[in-house]
């Protein structure tokens, strides 16, 4: 309990020291709210087309303007938050489980486990990551679910390496030896002694890669993979608006792109802030 209070106090200290971190926490809250309640709050139906109101610039009625089918862009941008955020969270959680477990096992057991995990990570790293993600989605099939899987796979080496390093330095630690001497099996030590120590560092890794996960998923849907129109999603909305940029209708692509940018910016700042909170070297 005291540890929790100390962490909270430290968190407050970090936020007050660095107002940008505070801002990113606020933005994060806003994104979560939009993801949870967005569809109930928006002024227009994100899918309802109205060709008489097509390609309207931003106005009091349509804050972000309307697209080529007369759909309200503000409503679509807000509603899209759930899908984009959902894809990013799902892929990050997936890679957290896969990469975290594989890395911890590699660092703790060493030997063949270590070699196999290391080889898999090296092989993934031998590809330009976005290109590999494209190939995976093309092979597994063009669905949102496979975008999540592809994004998770390309992030695997990052998680596996961090988890491996953290588990490796603890495999001979005093508390692990104590657990071993009192008769715990290796797997039991891995799950109850090593894993809890690695999880905070992996959580930071999650928030650091959230931004990349969103960018990756939006990039894939920008080239026409995964999400299908008319589903509102930031990447595909930018792709739809791209055709109108050359004729001056900037708002169709601009606002979803801006939302994407703000979300990524927020997650990157949040990751840095979270690292300051979790990193024990900073906790004095």
């Amino acid at each position: 309990m005291t540890a929790l209070v100390a962490t909270m106090r430290h968190a407050r200290y970090v936020v007050s020291e660095n107002p940008v971190t505070g801002l990113s926490f606020g933005l994060f809250l806003l994104i979560v709210l939009a993801a949870l309640f967005g569809p109930f709050l928006v002024p227009h139906d994100p899918l309802a087309s109205n060709t008489t109101m097509a390609l309207q610039p931003p106005s009091a009625q349509f804050w972000f303007g309307t697209d080529q089918l007369g759909r309200d862009i503000f409503s679509r941008v807000v509603v899209a938050t759930r899908l984009d955020f959902g894809i990013a969270v799902a892929s990050v959680v997936l890679v957290f489980c896969m990469g975290g477990l594989a890395g911890v096992a590699a660092g703790f057991f060493g030997g063949w486990t270590d070699r196999i995990v290391g080889r898999i990570a090296d092989t993934i790293m031998a590809f330009p990551l976005f290109v590999l993600a494209m190939g995976i989605v093309a092979a597994l099939g063009n669905t949102v679910q496979n975008i999540v899987i592809a994004t998770a796979i390309v992030n695997f080496p990052l998680y596996a390496r961090v988890a491996r390093a953290e588990a490796n330095v603890r495999r001979e630690a005093g508390f692990v030896e104590a657990a071993r001497l009192s008769g715990n099996g290796e797997w039991r030590i891995l799950v109850f002694q090593i894993l809890p120590n690695v999880i905070p560092i992996l959580v930071v890794q999650m928030s650091l890669t959230m931004g990349y996960a969103i960018l990756n998923a939006a990039g894939l849907s920008f080239i026409g993979l995964g999400v299908r129109p008319p589903t509102p999603e930031w990447g595909i909305m930018v792709a739809e608006g791209a055709a109108f940029i050359v004729s001056g209708e900037w708002w169709i692509a601009f606002f979803p792109g801006l939302a994407l940018m703000i979300a990524v910016f927020c997650f990157n700042l949040l990751g840095d802030g979270l690292r300051d909170i979790v990193d024990p070297r900073r906790r004095t």
Binding site: A126, L129, V131, A218, A239, I245, S247, G248, F254
Partner: protein
């Protein structure tokens, strides 16, 4: 040096084997029956069986893998369903367009990021240091396709400085005679100033887009490593000996500070090759990225597979080049090897 090159070459072999295995497995992981997939939706059962035989899909997996590797050795990447052309020839024809764009993008970002990082490191806390911090934080958050579209809107629609984002040359220009495949170099070799300017104009925005994208990691790394080097003992000694500030920063610190930056280039290339696909889509650039995207949309898998393989081999080769460059700059790396 020759032993170093040999050693590094040997080190790339496991990566290449991994890359070939993954690209092979990607096709075999296709949902459903690959034969039916390659035959198209209208094919009859016999036609599917025939394709299964001709593709060797009735063979066990290891045999299929050996076939795949043998085809690769012959330079055969399969045939595109939509165009009916061999994939290898199409990729070879389009590769220079992508390479020209990526390399120019890298050049642009190096030209901005390295001086920016050095200035930020020599004047910590100054305006330029803050500017560097903003650029590096904002730069990693910018979706590359979004940057490209904003540039098109500003420089094509609003200002009218840039030509329409429709490929490597305007519709009235003819490409220079092919020597390297790089329009900028070919037009210079042919002494054709007009074509050079035309292709430079077309290249400017996409290269700038890629440059902005790669700016952040390079500038951040330059700043960090310059800061580390500038606070080291030998720089202090050089200053104490009364060397001019310029000599200390450029001759002494810069050369040492470049080493970590060159290491980061590996990661930068991973991002650049991926971003290249998106930029090619925005600017209708006829490179291998847009080739792969067209094939993806048409569910034509052979070009995608060839594209992934080409990109991965290129990336492995680039990392090899970076390693060798590192050895060239840093004598210690040569000793270790």
């Amino acid at each position: 040096m020759p032993t170093l090159i040999l050693k590094r070459l040997v080190m790339t072999i496991p990566s290449l084997i991994g890359v070939v295995i993954v690209t092979f497995l990607l096709t075999r992981a296709l949902p459903g029956d690959p034969a039916a997939y390659f035959a198209g939706p209208a094919a009859s059962t016999e036609a599917i069986e025939q394709i299964r035989k001709s593709l060797g899909l009735d063979q066990p997996l290891p045999v299929q893998f050996v076939d795949y590797v043998q085809a690769l050795v012959r330079g055969d990447l399969g045939t595109s369903l939509t165009t009916g052309q061999p994939v290898a020839a199409e990729i070879a024809a389009r590769l220079p367009a992508s390479a020209e764009l990526t390399l120019l993008g890298l050049l642009v970002s190096m030209a901005i990021a390295v001086p920016l990082g050095i200035l930020a490191a020599t004047r910590p806390g100054s305006m330029i240091d803050h500017a560097c911090r903003i650029v590096t934080t904002a730069g990693v958050s910018l979706p590359v396709f979004f940057t490209g579209l904003i540039l098109v809107y500003v420089f094509y629609y609003l200002l009218g400085w840039a030509p329409a984002p429709l490929g490597r040359l305007g519709i009235f220009d003819s490409p220079p005679p092919t020597i390297t495949g790089f329009y900028l170099i070919d037009s210079l070799l042919a002494g054709d100033g007009t074509t050079f300017m035309a292709s430079l104009k077309q290249l400017a925005l996409p290269a700038l887009t890629l440059g902005i994208f790669a700016l952040a990691p390079i500038a951040r790394m330059t700043r960090a490593s310059m800061l580390a080097v500038l606070s080291s003992d030998f720089v202090r000694t050089a200053r104490a000996c009364g060397l001019a500030s310029y000599t200390v920063v450029v001759t002494y610190a810069f050369r040492n500070a470049m080493l970590p930056v060159i290491t980061t280039l590996g990661m930068v290339f991973s991002f650049l090759l991926g971003a290249n696909v998106l930029v090619e889509k925005v600017f209708a650039w006829p490179g291998i990225g847009s080739f792969a995207v067209e094939a993806l949309i048409a569910s034509d898998f052979a070009p995608v597979q060839g594209f992934v393989l080409t990109m991965a081999v290129l990336y492995v080769a680039l990392n090899l080049a970076i390693d060798l460059l590192y050895g060239l700059i840093d004598p210690r790396a040569r000793m270790d090897a």
